[in-house]
């Protein structure tokens, strides 16, 4: 029994300190306003306060902290991207994640499980090799493994996939991990508020004041706020915010759905993804299979669920793991994803001075939480893009300088 639990047990849980402070009144001025109290926004606030000494910061969250895509994703962390820009960025994120529990003093259940991206065709094998080569060039542990190695690494997997699209091999990414998503938001929220940041839940931004090309405040449903910088770190609502700032972006909103089964005893230790079958699956520390697929086929600003999503997913999962046929889906849900044309985020400075954007996270924003927070904090503090996010800059579309992740990640959790 760890000492910490002994202490709680002997002293009584009622003596536990508050995780979050009592909510404060909303003031009429802050140095920095961060829109969005998910992992990204809270991390940015934390790093602004701790690394850059900027503590007069308000995080405004329309619902509750971590209630957007931070709390709706399937919690996978990895860095096996295709482009060097992507690999460097996510590798930095993985490294931060690995030590985050200790830094934030909260057990995030960061669990390195290994991550297989199955390939069912020559084309897919080529892409896997491309990713493996780029990853290894940048010291990220990814390798192409053959069909037999997949069979050994994922007991119970039907390599013939029920009779069509047999597995030919996979990209194996040893650092692939899962982590308790909610706890990431809570850990950052606590650490940020401990350093002077204010987090205001149930506070919706309704407008933005821009004068002479410079942002000078936001309007909320609890009153107006003057500020020197506004950082939009929302997902699903990005176009509403950029519209307030008078900016056009390529971002479109597509629902992304997920579901879990009832808990069963652990049988799946690794994370398994199949781009061809459009599924990804892992087993949580509670014993549930956590599963998802690609985004819904049409733009929609809604978190409604669809039955065809679970039907299609079940069809594929039963092909991959026939013995899971009796497992029962317990719950399905959806988030709203910011999709960009090149499957890469849009980060950093914008044509509106003092307005910073951290958006376009598609279906993979959660795994970037620490690095987005830290690079955005650096960007805001210095008013220039951190080098790791420069490839993801706002104006790359105007220059036709897109990021080449599209080849890798139609379903890349």
């Amino acid at each position: 029994m760890p000492w910490r639990l002994l202490k709680i047990g002997l002293r009584g849980a009622h003596k536990e300190p508050r995780f979050f402070p009592e909510p404060a009144d909303l003031r009429d001025s802050y140095d920095v306003v961060i829109i969005g109290g998910g992992g990204h926004g809270l991390a940015c606030a934390y790093y602004l306060a701790t690394r850059h000494g900027i503590r007069n910061v308000a995080v405004l969250e329309q619902g509750y902290i971590g209630g957007g895509n931070t709390g709706r994703n399937t919690t996978i962390v990895r860095s096996n991207y295709l482009t060097p820009d992507g690999v460097r960025f996510y590798d930095a994120s993985v490294r931060m994640f690995q030590r985050l529990s200790q830094e934030l003093d909260i057990n995030l259940f960061y669990s390195t499980r290994g991550h297989y991206t199955l390939a069912h065709s020559d084309e897919a094998m080529r892409t896997m090799r491309w990713r493996a080569e780029v990853n290894r060039h940048l010291d990220v542990d990814s390798q192409v493994v053959d069909r037999d190695a997949v069979g050994r690494g994922i007991p119970g997997l039907d390599l013939d996939c029920g009779g069509s699209q047999p597995v030919m091999g996979a990209l194996y990414h040893a650092p692939g991990a899962v982590v308790r998503h909610d706890a990431v938001a809570w850990g950052y929220a606590r650490a940020a508020t401990n350093n002077g940041v204010e987090v205001h839940q149930k506070t919706r931004v309704t407008g933005m004041q821009v004068e002479n090309g410079r942002v000078c405040g936001v309007a909320t449903d609890r009153g107006n706020i003057r500020c020197g910088a506004v950082v939009s770190m929302v997902a699903g609502s990005t176009p509403r915010i950029t519209e307030m700032a008078g900016l056009s972006t390529p971002i479109e909103i597509f629902p992304l759905q997920a579901c879990v089964t009832e808990p069963v005893k652990p049988f799946l230790d690794t994370i398994v993804v199949s781009g061809s079958l459009h599924v990804y699956v892992s087993q949580s520390s509670r014993g549930e299979l956590v599963m998802g697929a690609s985004v819904d086929p049409a733009v929609l600003h809604s978190t409604r669920s669809s039955f065809e999503f679970v039907e299609g997913l079940a069809d594929r999962i039963v092909d991959l793991f026939p013995f899971t046929a009796r497992l029962r889906i317990n719950r399905q849900w959806a988030g709203m994803s910011d999709m960009t044309p090149d499957f890469a985020p849009i980060m950093g400075t914008t044509p509106v001075s003092g307005f910073y954007l951290d958006a376009g996270w598609g279906t993979w924003g959660f795994k970037a939480t620490p690095i987005s927070g830290s690079t955005m904090a650096d960007t805001v503090a210095n008013n220039r893009n951190h080098e790791l996010i420069e490839p993801f800059r706002f104006d790359r579309f105007a220059d036709f300088q897109l990021v080449g992740e599209k080849g890798a990640a139609s379903v890349g959790h």
Binding site: S101, S111, T127, F307, I329, R331
Partner: protein
Amino acid sequence: MPFRRSEAGPREWIDRHRTVHFTFEGTRYVAFAGDTITSALQANGVQLLGRSFKYHRPRGALSMANHDVNALFTTADDTNVRGDVTPVTDALDVRPVNVSGSLARDAHRHLDRLGRFLPAGFYYKAFHKPRWLFPYWERLIRRRAGLGTVDSAWTPRRRPKRYGYCDVLVVGGGPAGLQAALGAAEASLDVLLVDENPHLGGSLDYEWVTDPAAPAQRDELMEAVAASPAIRVLTSAVALGFYTDHWVPVSTPEGIIKVRARGVVLATGVIEQPAVFRNNDLPGVLMASAAQRLLHRFGVQACERAVLQVNNPEGFAAAEDLRRGGVELQAVVASGPGVQKADAAALVDAGVPVHFGWAIVEAHGDGAVAAATIAPVDAGGVPDQTHARRIDCDGVVSSAGWGPAGHLLYQAGGRFSYDDTLEMPVPVAWPDTVVPAGRMNGVFSLASQRDDGRDAAGRLAAALAGGPVSDPMSNRDTRAHATPWPVVPHPKGRDFVDLDEDLQYKDLIQGAREGFDNVELLKRFTTVGMGPSQGKHSNLNAFRILARYLGQGMDETGTTTARPMYHPVRLEDLAGRRMRPWRETPVQAWHGEHGGFLMESGEWERPSFYGEEADAQQVIASEVTAVRTGVGIIDVSTLGKIEVLGPDAATLLDGSYTMRQGNLRAGLTRYALRTDDTGVIVDDGVVGRLAEDHYYLTATSSHAEGTYQTLTRHALEWGLDVHVVNRTGQLGALNLTGPLSRRVLEPLVDVDLSEAALPRLGMTDARVCGEWARLLRVGFVGELGYEIHAPAGTMARIWDALMDAGAPLGIRPFGVDTQRVLRLEKGHIIVGQDTDGLTNPFEAAMPWAVHLKKPWFVGRPALAHLKGAEQRKLVRFVMAADSSAPLPRESHLVIRDGTIAGRVTSIARSPTLGRPIGLAMVDRDLAEAGQALAIRGDGGRMLAAEVVTETFYDPDGLRQNADAPEVTP
């Protein structure tokens, strides 16, 4: 101690004439057909049915309504089976879940004593320091995870899903649902009535039994429903969720039926909510409706001597019901606004001690209930412990209140509000075509439930007729049916709010105190409502606790989202029949019969080559040689084949492709490259012109449908008078190619094959073997060749005839892998392999394919700017012929100065040239003739290559002359 009554009840589900034998934990038991696992075990006196998720506390029956997730079982071919609703069958072998050893002597039962060290969210607060120890803790914790165990030998039962259509779907076959179904049928609507139970009747089966008027009403309703030709009934059928456009999947024992209804009546009833007091989880503590279900459906008496907590009129009725059923009522405690003394008259008359203003504060027992402590409570529900009294009993039954089974209404866009009179949430808004009825709608008496069902059907009929929908009649009750505070916290805890997740009162308070003080955060921190029953008997009490903690109202406190599924549903049922449609070319059978090594390619299966996999390299090389020196034939029926007709045909193709197609002469073809708005290459193919207003074009196999869609959309978008016909499936195609191809074909056609008559890139309709066909003199592989397109019905005949005619000349069929080598020798790209999702034609070294002289085509605006701006370029490279080192593979990287400078997109050892050749996408400044490339191969070995500019094979295209001396007969 529960036991089976000897006399049969009028509504029993069991068939006392048929016994079944089953085994539980190795012990053999007898049950009746119709028993569930739980009812059978209860009848056999077995109360200990499971161990809880976290503390491994003993648990028994609670709801008997598909919410008993502490009584889950594993059978030979299933797990997490809910004992309260799953029938026992003969020879069924049932084991408990989440138990190490036996239920009674579960090795983890001591965890219960560690509860104080494992408060809500404990795992966030420990195990992470030091970092290196976490994996150890994690393994330990992970081993504890989960409930049932899956068996890797299980095989899926994939059954077809079915579709159901109706005017009105009624969910719930209780009094309101039955009446609603009748009402809708009377309005000439086609009705589907579904109920999750094996029999219709709902609460009429077990709850209204003591109401003298009820049996007649039940019989009347059931008979009318059975007699109505407009009503179809499905029992054991769970409506899983409500999805967009009245799409309600219904799970049945035979699989899922996806029901599309025009309107839905939700008469889904209420879910009884437990009272919270110390040890309220002991086997023998159950809800009144559960005791009644056991009694009337299964003839099982839940206990012999009970203490009852009653907070509503239903509770008094249940008490009287149990008393008449033979249970000795040791005490009935009753408190709160739902209690009227008049309701207890029968009990009092029968001499039952009824304590008004009292509540249960604790249950006692070791593994099963042995006693209960009751005490007076004040108006706020706080007990006066000084007057507490302990009463021996073997059952504790509570009727504390109800929560609406409003999941589907919520999913349909309905809203609920907490009714302070009824003391439960009730619907306050819903769509016109999705109407609540009955107890879920706050309607309680039997008569008013029927009124509400009739009213719901009437309003739904009006909505479906498009007429005005009247305001709902309010049939809602005007008195409380619950206590607003069914919670008696105990200083020593074990007062469970969520039995799925082992959450006690103090866990919720602790969560709120730590700042997780809204419903969503509290849920996520404590996991309340996240267990298998999804909060069906924990959410309402948890929200009450949070509301009281925050000093605010229930509506202000809010609720979590009720997501599908209503009850969990098996993956195999969701998956349904396995359906993977595939397509076959007209020559498919031939490939199989002649050694084709078949590989899946999208919806098709195509031969990679003809031979054994082990000999692939040699076979491919010999097929290449056959094509280069003799004649080969390949099935290319998978190509997209599209006919474009009409006065604007040329405009459509000029606008859709990068090259000019409008100036093409009839009888000729031209390469066709398609880009998107961003200038990125999408697909390529060949466009041929047959007449001024008639084109025929091909697209790659994977873009056949996409090309058709793009062209038809542009036709509309640009207002063109043109007709686009996708003939991909209707026509087959083959490519007969090699220097001897003309000699093979000539005797079989009715057209002149000379270079003058059918020149290179020419196209003509002809008769091949007497059948209509279209000949295209195009060659992906760089030899003289004829693509022959013909109707699928005649293609095989043509193929066979060519094989026969070519036999003396050594004709060889060749596969896709061979074709890839051949085209690489010729330097042709494969879109999607040599290009990626961002490659434009300039990067692909195909500036000649971009006709910027055209004022407009899709991609032109972008390509006009991208010309000359490319930062990378596709190059040809060669490697030393004598190298014995393994070749680099496709996707290996080009490295310069330790950084990535490109990648190999295609590579092969060329049988024709005798050396390795390839294509690579490299940084622009490396794209010069003679430039040395360093390619990192397997194992990090660096391999040298050299950029060349000239086409590897036959740069001047001399081999494609139909009149060349070696090709003419």
